[in-house]
């Protein structure tokens, strides 16, 4: 390979290294700035705890069985909420996407109800499902139903008409059409809808827990707030964010574009 070729390859490697350096620099800058702010005492006591304090709180947290008990409650609530809301949303979306009349009649209802703050339904959910996990799961269901239904409906409409005709020409039953043609063809938009749904289900469930609960991650966060245990609150928030972002990324890998990028 001549010099021009070799030069191009080293240029790519240099950029990769520089990106790593920039990222490390940014993270280091944030950590240093944080520690400086913490030690300076500019903000009142413990609003910005030192990194070691947060680290210790995180360590205590991750070795505390009580934490894992609460975590599993939350994960269970979110999981169930996503399952129920997801199935309902998917079914509704497929129905709306398949039938133009139904879509015209009801889809704008769902579209406009989507971007509303679902947490305001919480008092109603408490009345209907009690103060326990039931109302939290209901919040999750209500939150994730809308983005999943909307993306399923638009996903249905994007399916190449030809594929549907092929299914019908082979006399496929409704269930076969759904499982063998509709769902595989809509995989990408539905995966995106589920990502969005997971995001809002997490928010809806956890906010409900912070408002009224005696179990779950949300409860732990509010408890840390009311006892002014800031290091613990930071630790909880960090764990929460890592899990949420991780779950989002995992679901994203299910999409076809992600699979294509991996094999490319």
């Amino acid at each position: 390979m001549n010099r021009a070729g070799a030069a191009a390859i080293t240029a790519g490697a240099v950029t990769g290294r520089r990106v790593v350096i920039v990222r490390v620099a940014i993270i280091a800058g944030i950590l240093v700035g944080w520690e400086a702010l913490s030690l300076s005492g500019l903000l009142f006591r413990d609003v910005v705890p030192s990194l070691t304090a947060i680290g210790r709180a995180a360590g205590r947290l991750l070795t505390d069985p009580d934490f894992y008990a609460n975590l599993s409650v939350t994960v269970g609530e979110i999981g169930l909420g996503l399952l129920i809301g997801g199935v309902c949303g998917l079914a509704t979306g497929i129905l709306l996407g398949a039938n133009r009349f139904l879509s015209r009649a009801y889809e704008s209802l769902i579209y406009y109800l989507g971007p509303t703050p679902k947490i305001i339904f919480f008092p109603v959910m408490i009345m209907w499902f009690g103060v326990g996990s039931g109302s939290k799961i209901a919040m999750g269901v209500v939150s994730c139903f809308f983005p999943i239904a909307i993306s399923a409906a638009s996903g249905m409409r994007q399916i190449d008409r030809v594929l549907i005709l092929v299914g019908r020409s082979f006399r496929a039953t409704t269930w076969q059409m759904v499982s063998k043609i509709y769902l595989p063809a809509m995989r990408d938009p539905v995966v995106n809808g589920v990502r969005l749904g997971l995001g809002v289900a997490i928010i809806g469930t956890l906010l409900a827990e912070t408002k009224l609960s005696n179990r779950g991650m949300g409860y732990l966060i509010i408890q840390a707030y009311s006892t002014f245990d800031m290091p613990k609150m930071y630790a909880l928030l960090i764990v929460l964010f890592v899990l949420a972002i991780g779950a989002n990324a995992l679901i994203g890998r299910l999409s076809r574009t992600a699979a294509r990028n991996r094999s490319a």
Partner: protein, 259 residues
């Protein structure tokens, strides 16, 4: 008289919408009857007719207009911050390629993160005040503004940049006369998304910390066990958010004709 002309009318856009609306109203009617008949507990679900009466009542008694204005103010402040901080940050990421390569995925992850859950933290830092609410709205809406600004700038067609280069534009001229105008439609979409996220989180936090405008109203009514009032306030807030969202959509379509 043949029935043929009836079908297209029923399945037309307007016909379908009317039928949809009619079925929803019918459903409400069924609920009303079910409650009156005692099938559904009226201490859990108040009569729809009571809810409808409650709405004008709370508008008058609870100073809804003032509360609406409070919420709107919070949303406006959050939007100002979003534009003043989000757009320059997006431009910065575009300008310095190495920073963009390093940070773009992080901002994307931020968009997926449940930022509003940090509200107890904001409470500690800013106290139980409008500032907390505005800051949460701002934090929740920031990521889409940055990402869409970046997308708009990066998506400028190369040929337009070549035209600028062929006229020997300076970097600054290239940015203000070509990049930014070309990116403007995308920037507006980002602001719309950011605004919507901000509004949702603002009303949510108002409810949670029992402070502010409309969100607080719902919380108050719920704590007073004013069932029809609570349901009525929820309906009112939903209506408001629909109007808000619809306006944002219309504005976007107005600014991007033909898309």
């Amino acid at each position: 008289m043949s029935r043929a002309p009836l079908k297209p009318l029923l399945t037309s856009r307007i016909g379908a919408r009317l039928i949809g609306a009619a079925t929803v109203l019918a459903l409400i009617g069924v609920v009303e009857l079910a409650i009156r008949a005692g099938i559904v507990n009226r201490f859990i679900v108040p009569l729809p007719s009571e809810i409808m009466v409650a709405i004008p009542r709370i508008i008058v008694e609870e100073n809804v207009l003032h509360r609406f204005w409070q919420t709107t103010q919070e949303v406006l402040w959050a939007s100002l911050l979003l534009a003043a901080v989000g757009i320059p940050l997006g431009a910065l990421l575009h300008r310095y390629r190495i920073v963009r390569l390093a940070c773009e995925t992080w901002v994307g992850a931020l968009a997926a993160a449940p930022i509003v859950l940090m509200y107890p933290l904001f409470l500690v830092i800013f106290g139980r005040s409008a500032t907390t609410i505005v800051m949460i709205g701002f934090a929740a809406g920031l990521a889409p503004v940055i990402l869409k600004t970046l997308e708009g700038l990066a998506g400028t067609r190369q040929v337009l940049l070549d035209v600028g280069r062929s006229f020997k534009l300076t970097d600054s001229q290239q940015f203000w006369k070509i990049l930014l105008p070309a990116a403007l439609p995308s920037v507006f979409v980002g602001l719309k998304l950011g605004l919507i996220f901000a509004m949702i989180n603002i009303v949510g936090v108002e409810f949670l910390i029992n402070f502010g405008g409309l969100g607080q109203l719902i919380n108050e009514l719920a704590e007073r066990y004013d069932l029809p009032g609570t349901y009525g306030a929820i309906c009112f807030v939903i209506l408001t958010s629909i109007v808000f969202f619809d306006t944002a959509e219309r504005l976007e379509r107005f600014l991007r004709p033909g898309e």
